[in-house]
Symmetry: C2
Subunit: 235 residues, 2 copies
């Protein structure tokens, strides 16, 4: 019985990691599709989105079965409860990547983005994909210090997002209102993707430490780690 239980706990973690991997992959493809107006790639993201929502259902069912049949306690109970919450965040990350792919499809064969802001989206996409990979990594390693460092990547995303808004709001903006509306929504999708990754990190910290950290505590933990890490291991 105990063996079955451990296998199921481990499966839940693997499935969450797999979901995060798929959300990261969707984000990578939808960003490339957005930057190059690649309809085929956008459609691939749209077609394969069901994989993420299907996995979400599987994760929720597995978590529920674990609670119903195995009655986990202490750290295991925290892991299952956190798992239930994490599913919702990763599901949303997948939905945001889907929105980006749909915007690309909607405007095809035109490019959604004026050339002037493509650099911002290339960089926001790079950070989002890194956050997707890091989310998968922390779900597999349950490393609370790595989880806290997601906060830094999110700050880089927020900075880019703020700069993007300055470009939009600048009276020099020449691309009209329709393009500005698209850029506004797309920028928001990238920013929210990063927020959800940070939220997964906060849940992993809870899972390991039993305490849900505040934003200030995450920042302090991340800073402490930065000072201690002479040779940072993250790419």
């Amino acid at each position: 019985m105990r063996v079955v239980y451990n296998v199921q706990m481990s499966e839940l973690g693997d499935l969450l990691g797999e979901m995060a991997g798929l959300a990261g992959l969707a984000m990578e493809r939808s960003t490339q599709a957005l930057l190059t107006a690649d309809l085929g790639l956008a459609e691939q993201v749209i077609e394969e989105h069901d994989k993420i929502t299907d996995l979400a259902v599987v994760c929720e069912e597995k978590a529920f079965q674990l609670l119903a049949l195995q009655g986990p306690v202490a750290g295991d109970l925290r892991a299952v409860v956190s798992g239930i919450q994490i599913v919702a965040d990763i599901d949303r990350m997948g939905a945001l990547a889907l929105h980006i792919a749909k915007a690309t499809r909607r405007r095809h064969p035109n490019h959604v983005l004026p050339d002037e802001v493509k650099g911002y989206f290339a960089e926001m996409g790079r950070i989002a994909v890194a956050l997707g990979g890091a989310t998968r990594e922390i779900l597999e390693t349950r490393d609370p210090e790595r989880a806290a460092r997601l906060h830094h990547e999110d700050e880089a995303m927020d900075d880019l997002h703020r700069h993007l808004f300055k470009v939009l709001m600048n009276p020099e903006w020449k691309h009209g209102v329709a393009a500005a509306v698209d850029v506004t929504l797309l920028g928001r999708f990238y920013e929210r993707f990063a927020d959800h990754a940070v939220e997964v990190g906060r849940r992993v910290i809870f899972l390991v430490t039993g305490k849900l950290p505040t934003e200030e505590e995450i920042r302090a933990l991340g800073t402490k780690v930065d000072k201690l890490t002479v040779y940072p291991t993250e790419s």
Copy 2:
């Protein structure tokens, strides 16, 4: 022990209903603040937002304690698991109301909205407040048919949101890019508020029936109810 358990289950439901009530109230106030550029009211929403996030922590802790100490089964287990998921949705509804209040404060003493689109936001606000109230109601009554009907209100919101975009994208738009960016984001906040209310409804249906309905099933359930309900009870 059983008495304590029932009291705790009932408390969790009451706290979720209370949270939904606060999110609805925040939405009501932030919409009024937005429409009238009322700084005091916007600041009240911002100052009182902690009440919602504090309640979210209390709900999560109560749900966790119930799982850890009482080992609920069957319908009660579903109620606790759904409760954990519902907390996240209501928390987000509160955050979206907060964003609207902050937009009002940011542009004060100017109005965020051009007069041309105020009618859309008055109506989207009315629907959002109704959805907040309905969310509270279904958390208290656990009525799956009422929960399914949230879908209709969400469709009304989506229609308004689509029309709003037509206004924005119309070459006749005279209010410039900065106003369009604000209107785009604010429209999105109302639409997402409604989506989260629908998600709470879906969770309540799961809680009662043990099955998480698809969007099609909700639509069918809502339609069936409409046909059967000769004297609708909702306001």
